[in-house]
């Protein structure tokens, strides 16, 4: 057991296994569904699970994550499982962070989640609808350095949250209906 992590009140990643097992939606499941409410719910669940997975995977190497990451990941898994219940409302967004500056581990998890969700939507919809998310991703990339200062971490976190919100909303909306095609010339 990592004594430092334990003293800081960090949470072992293994504790999330039962909550993670309840979330069964993968990208293949979303792709197999026709556009409509069921696919929209499946997308939301997939996005939430991906968010939780990436946050936990980007944690420290000792198998622990800090308390704030644990809270957000647990909330993501809980919302993801609830999406799959009959007549359950689709969550309006990804779970929010508490106030304060994000750590590099948290930023890495957010960035990896954004990249994964963006990739899914780029295959599904093409790059054009992702322009807003890509702009936020580019901003985060321009500020990303080794050992970023608190100001830079604040800027990166703001850009990543905006990008994640954009891809989540786009995924929910585009799963519910057929995407508009550009008219033929």
């Amino acid at each position: 057991m990592a004594i430092g992590s334990w003293l800081r009140g960090d949470v072992p990643v293994s504790r999330f296994a039962p909550a993670r097992e309840r979330c069964t939606v993968t990208s293949d499941v979303v792709e197999a569904l026709p556009r409509g409410p069921a696919r929209s719910a499946a997308w939301a669940s997939y996005a939430l699970v991906t968010y939780g997975d990436k946050l936990l995977a980007a944690g420290k190497d000792d198998g622990y994550v800090d308390g704030d990451t644990a809270r957000v990941a647990a909330s993501a898994y809980e919302l993801a499982a609830r999406c799959l219940e009959a007549d359950a409302p689709i969550p309006g967004g990804l779970p929010p962070w508490s106030a304060g500056t994000r750590s590099v581990h948290q930023l890495r998890g957010m960035r990896d989640a954004l990249d994964a969700l963006r990739t899914f939507l780029a295959v599904d919809l093409g790059p054009a609808p992702l322009a807003a998310a890509d702009a936020h991703r580019a901003k985060a990339g321009s500020l990303w350095i080794a050992r970023p200062t608190a100001e830079l971490r604040g800027g990166i976190a703001g850009a990543l949250v905006a990008g994640l919100d954009a891809v989540y909303a786009l995924g929910v909306a585009s799963s519910a209906r057929e995407p508009r095609r550009a008219p033929r010339a």
């Binding site: 702009a135 580019a138 901003k139 321009s142 500020l143 990303w144 350095i145 080794a146 050992r147 970023p148 200062t149 100001e151 830079l152 604040g154 800027g155």
Partner: protein, 140 residues
């Protein structure tokens, strides 16, 4: 990149003069301590004797202690700045009141960000370049 020489200067449309400084070091804040006041006893002789104690107390809390703190923290700040690729951009206007605007960017984008900030201030605007974080305005 220096702490004491502006990288650029620019004059806004209303005549406000800005000096733009680049640095990799966030100087430690000058924090004055609380000077313990000396209670007057009402006895003029004793109060007169307490005067040097009061003066020493003020010097200690307002000058010596902050200077010690600054001297200890400065090398740490310089070392941390040298190891980082973050760059602070401060726009300083000293008249009619001192005003400081702070952005943080990274080494690779500093020239472009600086150009945007200078163009913005010349047009009387505080811009928020994509490759920088604007931390706000500090007035004194």
């Amino acid at each position: 990149m220096g702490l004491f020489r502006p990288a650029r200067t620019v004059t806004g449309p209303s005549g406000d003069y800005w000096e733009i400084y680049l640095s990799k070091t966030a100087l430690p804040a000058w924090k004055e301590g609380r000077s313990g006041g000396v209670d007057l006893t009402g006895n003029p002789r004793i109060d007169l004797l307490m005067l040097p104690v009061a003066v020493l107390g003020v010097l200690w809390s307002q000058l010596v202690l902050p200077l010690l703190r600054f001297s200890v923290l400065l090398p740490v700040a310089v070392l941390r700045g040298r190891r980082s690729r973050a760059v602070r951009i401060e726009a300083v206007n000293n008249f009619p009141a001192r005003e400081v605007l702070l952005w943080t960017t990274t080494e690779g984008f500093v020239d472009g960000v600086l150009d945007e900030i200078v163009a913005g201030l010349a047009a009387g605007k505080v811009v928020q370049p994509v490759a920088a974080v604007y931390s706000g305005r500090e007035s004194a």
